[in-house]
Amino acid sequence: MKHFLLTTILAGAVALPAYAADYSVMAPAAPGGGWDQTARSLQTVLQQEKISKKVQVINVPGAGGTIGIAQFASQQKGNPNALMVTGYVMVGAILTNKSPVTLKDVTPIARLTGEYEAIVVPASSDIKSVADLVAKLKANPGSVSWGGGSAGGTDHITAGLIAKTAGVDPTKVNYIAFSGGGEALAAILGGQVTAGISSYGEMESQVKAGTLRLIAVSSDKRIEGVDAPTLKESGLDVVIQNWRMVAAAPGITAEQKAAISADIEKLEKSKGWQETLKTKGWSDTYLSGPAFDEQLAKDIASTETILKDIGLVK
C-alpha cells in the first residue's frame, strides 16, 4: 500500500508541468479562508489559461493580514513577479491594529470580487423593514443587539454606518461580535440577537428557506434575484461592499505594472475565471486603473471616519 501510494505521488509529481516561477501570490491568511481561496483560484486559472506558466501560493497568516502586507512590502520591493491578495477587511485591520505598513505601500492592481452585506432578522421578529429597525434603534439603541463577525470588520462597520446615517450615535450601537459567520448566524437563527449582519452569500439559503427575513442589502442597486430593497431605497445612504483585490509589490516600474494589469485583465475575461466565480458564488466586481485607485482611496477614507465614529480607532 505504502509503495503504491508513493508511486502515485511520484507519478503525479512527474506529470505536473515544471516551468520557471512566473508569479508568486501571497495570501495574507491561513489556508482555507477567503483570501487563500482567492489566491488559489488565481493560481489555478492563471496556469489553466496559460497566462502564467507557474504560480506559487504563499500563506502568511496573522492580524487581519497586516503581518502579510508588512512582509510583502519589505521583502518583495521592486519584484515584478510578486502578487498579493487582499481586501476590504484589511483596510479596517490596518487602522485598528495601527499597522505601520498600509495599502499605500503596495501597488494596487485591480478589484476582483465582492460581496454585499445583508441585514436580516429572525423570521419570528416583529421587525418587518429597515424603518421598523431604525425606529427601534432611535427609541433605545442598546435594545437592538446586532450579531455579526469580528469587531471592526465589515459587519461592524455596516452597523455603525446604519446607525450614523439614521442619526443615532454610532458609539451606542450594541454590536455583538462572534468568531465566525456560522456562529453569528446560529445566534441570529436562535433569536439570541435582534438583528444580524453578514455577507448575503452566507445568509442566502436561510433567507430562501424562510427562517430569516432579509430586510435590506448594502448594494448600490438591487441585486438580481434577491427580493429585498437596498439600504439606499430604504432611506439610508449606505453602500458597502466587502471586496477582494490583487496588489503588486511596491517600487515596480510603470511598464511592469502595466504588464501585471494586462495579465489580470486577461484573467478576468477568461472563461476559467468566470466559471470559478460561479462555483464559488463570488460576484464579479472587477475594477482597475484610475477608477479603482479613486474608489480605493474613497473606501479607505470612509472606513477611517466610521471606525473613529464607532470608537474603535482613536
Binding site: 502515485t8 502568511v60 499597522s99 443587539s145 450594541n174 455583538i176 465566525g180 445566534a187 437563527l189 439570541q192
Partner: protein
C-alpha cells in the same frame, strides 16, 4: 423508510471497489497530513481538497469524507507515540496515551483509539443521519449564557480532574488563562498583552502551545536526565493487542465519549476540544482504577478519542441541516460542497437527498477504511519507539517544527515554540502539571467572550445568566461538582483524593 432507502442506496454505490479504493486513498492522505502537529483537520481538508476535484462526484465525495475523518484521526497516533498532539482535539489523548506507550502498552493505546474512533464515528454518523433535525434544535437554543454555563461546568470538572485544587494545578491553569489574554479582544477589537508585536495580535495558537508544551518540553526534560534515563523505550510489553481486560475497560468509555462528543460537536460554539476535556474528566471520575490516571489509564485514551471523532460527525449536523459552518473545518467543507453543486442549508435534505445520503454513506465507508488502515499498522507504529534515542528525539523535533512551519512559516512562531518549550521544561522540573495550561488557553477566552456577550445582549442585567433553564441546570451541575468533593473530604475521604492528585505528572 425513505431515509433508510436513501442510505442503503448510498452505501451500495459507495461500496463499489473503485469507490472503496478512493476512500482508502483519502483516508491515507488525510492521516498523513493530519498527523503533522499544527496542521489540523481544517488545513488538511483545505490542502487536499483539490486532489478530489479530478474524480467523478461520488468518488470525490468519498475521498473527501476519507480525508476529513483521516485528518481528524491523524493527530492521535502522534499524541500517543510521540507525545506530540497533531491538533487541539487530541491533546487529551497524549496525557494517558503517551504514558501507556512509554510503559510498553502503545499497542493497546493505539488500538483503543482506532476502535474507539470507529465506534464513535459509526454511532455519530448514524445519529447524524437519523436525529440531526432534533439535535440542531437543541443546538440553537444555546445562546451566550448557556455557553457560559457550559464553560463554567467544563472548568470545574476539568480542573478538578487535573489536580484536585492543588496549588500547582491551579497555578498551571492560571498561567494558561494569563496566556489566553494575549491578542486582540474579540468583542471590542482592543489589543491586550501584545506589547506592540504584530505576531501576537492573533493570540497564542493552541497547537503551537500544545506542541511546545508536550513535544519540546518533554524532549528537553528527557535530555536533561542525561545518561540516567534508559537508552531505549521498551516498545512492547505484554501483548501488542488489547487484552480482554482492555476491552472491558474501553467499551463503556467509547460509548460515553460518543454521547458527550456528538452534541458538543453539533453546537455552533462547542468545539471538539471541550468534548475531549469533559470525557476525560468523566472517565477519571467513573473509573475503577483511579490510581492509573496520570500514569497510563486506557479509559483516558478511549473516552476522549471517541469524543473527538463523535464531535467530528457532530459538526456536520448544523452544516447539513442549517448550512452553518460552525468551525474552520466546516467552513472549508462548505467550500468543498459547493464544488459538488451542493448548497448546504435548511432545504438540503429535501432538495438534494441523493448527495446528502451519499455523503453520509461515504462517511460510514471512510470510517470503516480508517479502521482497516490503522489496525494493521499498530504493530508497525509501535516499532517507531525502538529507534535509538538521538534519532527518535531529533525526528520528533523535526516533525514538531515541521507542522508549525507548514501552517505559518514565521521565525516568531518558532521562537514561541522554544520559549514555551523551556517554560514546559521548567514546569516539569518543579512538578507542575502541563495539561491545565492548555485547558486555560482554550477555555479562558470562550468563557470570557460568552459571558460578555450575554451581558451585552441583556444590557448589563446579570440575572439572565441563571434565568434560562439550560444555563441554570448547567450551573447547578457545576456547583455540585465543586461542592461534592468538599463534602466528601470533610467526611474523611479526602486523603485518598489528594494522594491521587499528587501522582499527576
Amino acid at each position: 423508510m425513505t431515509t433508510f432507502d436513501f442510505l442503503m442506496q448510498g452505501l451500495v454505490s459507495a461500496a463499489e471497489p473503485m469507490n472503496l479504493f478512493y476512500a482508502l486513498i483519502g483516508v491515507t492522505l488525510g492521516t498523513m497530513v493530519g498527523v503533522l502537529p499544527g496542521i489540523g483537520p481544517a488545513t488538511t481538508v483545505a490542502l487536499l481538497l483539490p486532489v478530489t476535484y479530478q474524480l467523478d462526484p461520488t468518488g470525490s465525495l468519498i475521498m473527501f469524507a476519507g480525508i476529513y475523518y483521516g485528518g481528524m484521526y491523524g493527530g492521535s497516533t502522534t499524541s500517543i507515540l510521540l507525545n506530540t498532539p497533531g491538533e487541539s482535539a487530541s491533546i487529551v489523548t497524549a496525557l494517558e496515551g503517551n504514558k501507556m506507550a512509554r510503559k510498553g502498552r502503545g499497542g493497546p493505546a493505539l488500538a483503543t483509539a482506532a476502535i474507539g474512533s470507529f465506534v464513535a464515528g459509526l454511532i455519530a454518523t448514524l445519529a447524524l443521519a437519523f436525529i440531526a433535525p432534533y439535535i440542531v434544535k437543541l443546538a440553537l437554543v444555546f445562546g451566550p449564557r448557556e455557553y457560559f454555563a457550559l464553560m463554567v461546568l467544563a472548568f470545574v470538572t476539568v480542573s478538578s480532574a487535573f489536580g484536585n485544587s492543588s496549588l500547582r494545578g491551579l497555578t498551571s491553569l492560571f498561567i494558561g488563562l494569563a496566556l489566553s489574554l494575549v491578542g486582540i479582544d474579540q468583542l471590542t477589537g482592543q489589543n491586550r498583552l501584545s506589547f506592540g508585536v504584530p505576531d501576537l495580535l492573533d493570540g497564542i495558537e493552541v497547537t503551537t502551545m500544545a506542541v511546545a508544551m508536550f513535544a519540546i518540553g518533554e524532549t528537553l526534560y528527557i535530555a536533561a536526565q542525561g545518561a540516567q534515563a534508559p537508552d531505549r523505550i521498551e516498545a512492547v510489553k505484554g501483548s501488542v493487542w488489547m487484552t480482554a481486560k482492555d476491552w472491558s475497560r474501553s467499551w463503556k468509555a467509547w460509548l460515553r465519549g460518543t454521547v458527550i462528543g456528538f452534541p458538543i460537536g453539533a453546537m455552533p460554539a462547542g468545539g471538539a476540544e471541550i468534548g475531549t476535556f469533559l470525557s476525560y474528566a468523566t472517565e477519571k471520575k467513573l473509573t475503577k482504577h483511579p490510581e492509573e490516571f496520570g500514569d497510563g489509564a486506557i479509559e483516558g485514551v478511549a473516552g476522549p478519542e471517541a469524543a473527538n471523532n463523535a464531535s467530528a460527525a457532530g459538526t456536520l449536523v448544523p452544516l447539513l441541516t442549517l448550512g452553518l459552518p460552525t468551525s474552520a473545518t466546516a467552513a472549508i467543507m462548505l467550500a468543498g460542497f459547493q464544488q459538488y453543486g451542493l448548497q448546504p442549508g435548511p432545504l438540503l435534505f429535501a432538495t438534494n437527498p441523493q448527495l446528502v445520503w451519499g455523503l453520509i454513506a461515504s462517511l460510514l465507508i471512510a470510517n470503516f477504511m480508517l479502521l482497516v488502515l490503522n489496525l494493521p499498522l499498530v504493530g508497525l507504529w509501535v516499532k517507531l519507539l525502538t529507534i535509538p534515542k538521538p534519532w527518535l528525539y531529533g525526528g520528533i523535533l523535526m516533525f514538531a517544527t515541521l507542522g508549525t512551519i507548514g501552517a505559518n512559516p514565521s521565525v516568531f512562531e518558532l521562537g514561541m515554540l522554544l520559549v514555551f518549550g523551556l517554560l514546559a521544561y521548567i514546569m516539569r522540573v518543579f512538578d507542575y502539571p502541563i495539561a491545565p495550561v492548555i485547558v486555560g488557553l482554550i477555555l479562558g477566552p470562550l468563557a470570557e467572550q460568552q459571558l460578555r456577550r450575554a451581558l451585552a445582549i441583556s444590557q448589563g442585567d446579570v440575572t439572565v445568566l441563571v434565568t434560562s433553564p439550560i444555563a441554570a441546570v448547567l450551573l447547578l451541575l457545576a456547583a455540585l461538582a465543586l461542592i461534592l468533593p468538599l463534602i466528601l473530604r470533610a467526611r474523611g475521604q479526602g486523603n485518598a483524593l489528594s494522594q491521587l492528585a499528587a501522582s499527576e505528572d
